[in-house]
C-alpha cells in the first residue's frame, strides 16, 4: 500500500502563493511602482523646497498646523525637521495607499476566487482548509513590507535620519499588515467579493476618519485607529516601538477571528446568509435603466451612506477651524488677513480642499458604476440582454445615465452632509444651500471622469483600466501636485485643475460649462464606439 504523506490545514500554501505571484506579476508591481514612485518623488521633492531653517520652521507653524493637514495626515511629530515634513506630506498617499492595496489584493485572491468557483477546483487538490487564507495573509504582508521598505529606502535616499526612516517604514508596513487581517475577516463575512471589498473599504475609511477627527481635536480618538497607532510610533520625533506592538496584537486577534470563522463556515458561504428573492420581477425591472439600478443597488446605497457620513464628519469640524488661529497666530499671516477675515479665509481654504477631496472620491464611484458595463460583458450577461430587442445604445445609455445621475445625487448628498455636520458642530442650520452649491461647483470634474470611463468602454474596452489610472493620477495631483511642482501641462490633465477653487475663488461658468460639454462629448463617443464594435468580451 502506498503511504499517504500527512497533510495539515495549510498544506499547499506554497503552490497557491506561486499561482498568486504568477497571476499578479503585473498587478503587484503596478501597485508598488505607482505608490512607491509617488512616495519617492515626494520624499526627494521636500528637501530642495525647504532648504533653510526658516522655511522648515515655518512649515511646522503653518502647513503642518492647518486643519486640512490634521484631518488628512494626522498630527505628525517632528514637523520642525525635514523628516517630519516628508512624513507629513506623504502620509495621505502612503497610508491610504498601503491599506487600499492590501484590501484589493487580498480580496482578489480569497473571496473573489471562492465566488468564481475557481477556488473549488483548487480545493479539490491537496490543499488545506486554511491554505487560501494563509496565502492571502502572506501575500498581503509581503506587499505591505515591500512598500514599507521602498518608503524607508526613499527617505534614506532623501538624506533623512536612519532611525526615523526605518520607524516610518515599519509603521507603514504594519498598518498594511493590520488591514490585511481586517480584510481576511471581511472575506469570511461576505459571500461576494464586492461585499468584502465594501466591508474592508469601509474599515479603511473609518480608521482614516477616526484618526483625522482625533488629530483635529487633539484627543484620544486617534488611539482607536490603526492609522493612529502607526503614526504613534513618532517617526522623526521621540521614536517609540510599543505602538507597533498594538498593531501586531490587533493583527493577531483578527487573524485568530478569521481562522475561527473560516473553520466554521461552508465553502462559498459567509456569515450573511443568502435569502430567497421574489418569484416575480417588480415593475422597476421593466426597463434597462431599472435593471441597471437594481444591479447597482448595493453600490449606490453603500456610496450614498458613506459619502453622506463623510460629509457630516467633515462638516462637523468646520466650526472648529477658526480655533486653530487662536492657538497659532501665525496662521493669520499665512492667510494674509486678521480677525474675522482670517477666520473666514481659513474656513474657505478648508472647505475648498474638502469639496475637492470629496469630489475626487466620488470619481471612484462613477468609474466603478460605469464599468459595471464591462463586468456585465465579461460575464456574458450583456449578451443575454442584447439578444432581446434592447438596443446597444439603450443598454449602454441606461448604465451611463445611472452613473452620472447618481454622481449628481451623491454630490448633493455630500453637500447636505456637510451642512448637517456643520449644524451638529455649530448649532447653526443655515448652510444647506451654501454647502450644496459649493460641492456642486466641483461636479463637472467627477462627470468628466465618469464620461471618460464610458468613452473607454465604447472605444477601447480592453483599456477600461485607464479610467482607474486617471482616478489615481487625479488623486495624486490633488494631494501631491503642489509639492512635486508638476508643470501646468501635467496638472491640466486633471479636470478639477480647470475649475474655480470655490469658495476661495469666485465661481466661473466657462470652465464649468466646458467640462460638462466635454463629458457629454465623451459619452457620445463611447456610445458611437459601442455601436460599432464586437459586443462580446475578447
Amino acid at each position: 500500500m502506498r503511504t499517504t504523506p500527512a497533510t495539515s490545514s495549510v498544506t499547499g500554501v506554497g503552490h497557491l502563493l506561486r499561482l498568486i505571484l504568477r497571476r499578479d506579476r503585473v498587478r503587484l508591481p503596478l501597485w508598488l511602482v505607482g505608490l512607491g514612485g509617488s512616495i519617492v518623488a515626494s520624499a526627494l521633492a521636500v528637501p530642495p523646497l525647504y532648504d533653510t531653517p526658516e522655511k522648515v520652521a515655518g512649515y511646522a507653524r503653518t502647513v503642518g498646523a492647518s486643519p486640512v493637514s490634521y484631518l488628512m495626515s494626522g498630527r505628525q511629530v517632528g514637523l520642525d525637521t525635514l523628516g517630519g515634513i516628508v512624513a507629513n506630506e506623504i502620509s495621505q498617499v502612503a497610508q491610504l495607499g498601503v491599506c487600499l492595496m492590501v484590501v484589493f489584493l487580498v480580496v482578489r485572491h480569497t473571496r473573489a476566487e471562492e465566488e468564481s468557483g475557481r477556488a473549488e477546483l483548487l480545493r479539490s487538490t491537496v490543499l488545506g482548509r486554511h491554505a487560501a487564507t494563509l496565502a492571502g495573509l502572506v501575500y498581503g504582508v509581503t506587499a505591505a513590507l515591500l512598500l514599507g521598505a521602498i518608503t524607508s529606502i526613499s527617505m534614506l535616499a532623501a538624506g533623512l535620519p536612519a532611525g526615523g526612516s526605518l520607524t516610518y517604514g515599519v509603521g507603514l508596513a504594519l498598518l498594511g499588515v493590520a488591514y490585511t487581517a481586517i480584510t481576511l475577516v471581511a472575506v469570511q463575512i461576505s459571500t461576494s467579493a464586492r461585499g468584502a471589498l465594501g466591508l474592508a473599504g469601509a474599515a479603511v475609511a473609518v480608521g482614516y476618519l477616526v484618526r483625522g477627527i482625533g488629530a483635529m481635536q487633539d484627543n484620544a480618538l486617534v488611539w482607536l485607529s490603526p492609522f493612529g497607532w502607526a503614526q504613534g510610533m513618532n517617526a522623526f520625533g521621540d521614536e517609540r516601538w510599543w505602538p507597533a506592538l498594538i498593531l501586531l496584537v490587533f493583527t493577531a486577534l483578527l487573524l485568530w477571528l478569521a481562522a475561527r470563522l473560516m473553520a466554521h463556515r461552508d465553502f462559498g458561504g459567509g456569515l450573511i446568509a443568502t435569502r430567497p428573492g421574489p418569484a416575480r420581477a417588480g415593475r422597476l425591472l421593466d426597463t434597462p435603466f431599472g435593471l441597471a439600478t437594481r444591479l447597482q443597488r448595493g453600490l449606490l446605497v453603500g456610496w450614498a451612506v458613506g459619502l453622506f457620513l463623510l460629509g457630516v464628519l467633515y462638516g462637523a469640524v468646520i466650526p472648529t477651524v477658526p480655533d486653530l488661529i487662536e492657538s497659532n497666530p501665525e496662521m493669520a499671516d499665512v492667510v494674509g488677513a486678521s480677525g474675522q477675515a482670517a477666520e473666514d479665509a481659513l474656513v474657505d481654504a478648508f472647505l475648498g480642499y474638502i469639496y475637492l477631496f470629496m469630489a475626487v472620491i466620488a470619481c471612484g464611484f462613477v468609474v466603478a458604476s460605469v464599468l459595471r458595463l464591462r463586468a456585465e460583458e465579461e460575464a456574458g450577461r450583456a449578451e443575454v440582454v442584447l439578444a432581446t430587442p434592447v438596443s446597444r445604445t439603450s443598454w449602454m445609455a441606461a448604465t451611463t445615465t445611472l452613473a452620472l445621475v447618481a454622481a449628481v445625487a451623491l454630490t448633493v448628498l455630500m453637500g447636505l452632509g456637510l451642512a448637517v455636520g456643520y449644524g451638529i458642530g455649530s448649532g447653526e442650520w443655515d448652510q444647506v444651500l451654501t454647502q450644496v452649491a459649493g460641492q456642486l461647483a466641483y461636479l463637472p470634474g467627477t462627470l468628466v471622469v465618469g464620461a471618460l470611463a464610458a468613452a473607454l468602454y465604447g472605444l477601447l474596452p480592453r483599456g477600461t483600466g485607464i479610467a482607474w489610472a486617471a482616478v489615481a493620477l487625479i488623486a495624486l495631483q490633488v494631494v501631491l501636485g503642489q509639492l512635486l511642482g508638476l508643470p501646468d501641462a501635467v496638472q491640466a490633465i486633471s479636470p478639477f485643475w480647470h475649475l474655480a477653487a470655490v469658495p476661495v475663488d469666485d465661481f466661473e461658468i466657462v470652465p464649468y460649462a466646458t467640462l460638462v460639454l466635454i463629458a457629454g462629448a465623451l459619452v457620445a463617443a463611447g456610445l458611437w464606439g459601442y455601436r460599432r464594435r464586437d459586443a462580446v468580451a475578447g
Binding site: 435569502r275 418569484a279 416575480r280 434597462p288 435593471l291 437594481r294 439578444a387 432581446t388 434592447v390 462580446v536
Partner: protein, 296 residues
C-alpha cells in the same frame, strides 16, 4: 424563404480565424442541428446572428434583416439560450426570467408557469445559489416562455439531467409544431438526431457537411454483418468495401453507401444465411468527420 442565411462569412479574432468562409442556411419551420466539437465556431456563428459580433466579410441575413444593423428590431422575434449561462447573482431566478421576457416584449404567463413546472425550477432562489443545471433551466424557461419565430439555442442541455433533457426535447418539438424555426447547436449527437430536420456539421469555422440526416448518411458507409454458405474471401475486391473481417463464414465490413448494391450482390452469390446492416449513427458520422482529420 430561409430564416437564417450566412454566406461566405469570415470572422477573425486577432490571428485566430473563428469563422472561415462559413455557409449556413436554415429554412422556415425546421429544427436545424448545428454540430461541431468544442471551439469549432458554433457560438461565434450564433453571436454573429445576434448582432453581437461584426463579420469581417460575407453576407449574413436573419428573419429577412441584417443581424448587425437591425439587431434590436429582429430580436423582437427571437429567443436565445447562451451556451455558458451567467445570471445576475443578486436577482432571483424568477426575476431574471421576467427581466429578459419583458425586455423581449412580454411573456406568455401560462407558458411561463408551465415551463417552471416542467423544468421543476424554484424561481425564488437567488441566482448565485443555483447549480449549473438550474442556471441552464432559468435561461431555458426565459427563452421558451416567450413566443418567438426563431429560437437560437446554444448547447441548451449542457448540465441538464436526462429527465430534463427529455422535457426539453418535448418542448422543442412543440415549438416546431407551432411553426417556429430552431437553430440547435450541440455536440450531443443523440439530441440533434432526435430533433433535427437538417444538420450542419461545422469544423474549424467552416461547414463541412450539411443536409438532412438521410442525405448525410448517403455520403457515408453502412456497416454490414453477414453469414454466408461459402466464406466471402473475395469481398475485398468489390469497389467501396472497406476492411472486411472474416471469421469463418461470418463477415463484417463497411461499405460506401453508393456501393451497397454491388456488395449485396457479391454476398448473395455466396448464399446469404443471415444479413444485418445498420446506417451509421450520427456518432459514427461525427467520428469519421473528425477522426479522419485527427489521423491526417
Amino acid at each position: 424563404m430561409a430564416v437564417i442565411e450566412l454566406h461566405d462569412v469570415v470572422k477573425t479574432f486577432g490571428a485566430t480565424r473563428a469563422l472561415d468562409h462559413l455557409d449556413l442556411t436554415v429554412e422556415q419551420g425546421e429544427v436545424h442541428g448545428f454540430l461541431g466539437p468544442n471551439g469549432a465556431g458554433k457560438s461565434t456563428a450564433i453571436r454573429v446572428l445576434l448582432g453581437l459580433l461584426r463579420t469581417d466579410s460575407g453576407v449574413a441575413s436573419m428573419l429577412g434583416g441584417d443581424p448587425w444593423r437591425d439587431a434590436a428590431t429582429l430580436h423582437r422575434r427571437l429567443a436565445y439560450v447562451p451556451g455558458d449561462v451567467s445570471l445576475w447573482p443578486n436577482l432571483s431566478g424568477g426575476e431574471v426570467i421576467d427581466v429578459l421576457a419583458r425586455m423581449r416584449g412580454g411573456l406568455d404567463e401560462a407558458r411561463r408557469q408551465q415551463m417552471l413546472e416542467r423544468f421543476d425550477l424554484d424561481p425564488t432562489k437567488k441566482a448565485r445559489t443555483y447549480s449549473k443545471g438550474n442556471r441552464q433551466k432559468v435561461a431555458l424557461v426565459a427563452a421558451l416562455a416567450s413566443r418567438a419565430d426563431l429560437y437560437l439555442l446554444d448547447e441548451p442541455t449542457s448540465g441538464l439531467d436526462p429527465l430534463m433533457e427529455a422535457e426539453f426535447q418535448e418542448a422543442v418539438l412543440e415549438l416546431k409544431d407551432e411553426g417556429a424555426t430552431i437553430l440547435l447547436s450541440s455536440h450531443i449527437l443523440a439530441e440533434a438526431e432526435a430533433l433535427s430536420d437538417r444538420i450542419s456539421i461545422i469544423r474549424a469555422g467552416r461547414v463541412v457537411q450539411s443536409g438532412t440526416l438521410a442525405e448525410l448518411r448517403h455520403l457515408t458507409r453502412t456497416t454490414v454483418i453477414a453469414e454466408t454458405d461459402r466464406p466471402a474471401t473475395q469481398l475485398a475486391s468489390v469497389p467501396g468495401v472497406h476492411e472486411p473481417e472474416l471469421h469463418g463464414n461470418r463477415v463484417t465490413f463497411d461499405v460506401d453507401s453508393d456501393h451497397l448494391d454491388e456488395a449485396v450482390r457479391a454476398l448473395s452469390g455466396l448464399g446469404v444465411r443471415s444479413l444485418a446492416a445498420h446506417p451509421p449513427t450520427l456518432e459514427e458520422l461525427f467520428l469519421r468527420q473528425y477522426g479522419d482529420e485527427v489521423t491526417a
